[in-house]
């Protein structure tokens, strides 16, 4: 099956800082997505981005499908951005990376 590698595994920021999270795939995937898991365990859809670039407020994402990676950018981070960020891609099944644990300190 597809392997999904996320980096960094942990990230600590001061409020207002910018960050980039990366997701690498071992093979071509369909339906690439980014999620944010809040402290209560709920998965929030951030982006559905099989290719190209999308922006939503302070967040944006870019997927380069031919090179099998995706990036999530968080600008002007806030404490409410804390949590775990997952990317996932579909091969024969939807496969998740191990996540990036983001902590934003005030």
């Amino acid at each position: 099956g597809i392997q999904v590698e996320q980096s960094p595994p942990d990230l600590i920021l001061q409020e207002g800082a910018n960050s980039t999270l990366r997701c690498n795939f071992s093979d071509s995937v369909n339906n690439l997505q980014w999620f944010h898991q809040n402290p209560w365990g709920q998965l929030i859809n951030l982006f559905y981005i099989p290719s190209g670039t999308k922006q939503n407020g302070r967040l944006s994402a870019t997927t380069v499908a031919t090179e099998r990676y995706s990036l999530l950018y968080i600008s002007s981070s806030q404490t409410t951005d804390s949590g775990v960020y997952f990317c996932a891609g579909r091969g024969s099944r939807l496969t998740f990376g191990e996540g990036t644990q983001l902590t934003v300190n005030p």
Binding site: G41, L94, E98
Partner: protein, 113 residues
Amino acid sequence: SAVISQKPSRDICQRGTSLTIQCQVDSQVTMMFWYRQQPGQSLTLIATANQGSEATYESGFVIDKFPISRPNLTFSTLTVSNMSPEDSSIYLCSVEPGGTEAFFGQGTRLTVV
């Protein structure tokens, strides 16, 4: 898009008992997916539930431990049977309308004592 109502949101159960988790979707979908997230880990697919047929289980998961029902195109249940502390996890259901973007229920945080 899709809105999924999952319940219970959390439960604390005695070992040896069973818990049934329910998911209701606001639209008809062919497949529903059940995932497990063990503490500090990523999501792992347990099984895919099709209406009118037996669920398809992933390697490492068996029907006797995780029986699934799919009585119609908007509803599914997952039962965690004969629970042990190792079953303490977050369980999530998911749908992919049109075979594209995945949407998840709120999750069920299970603690087995």
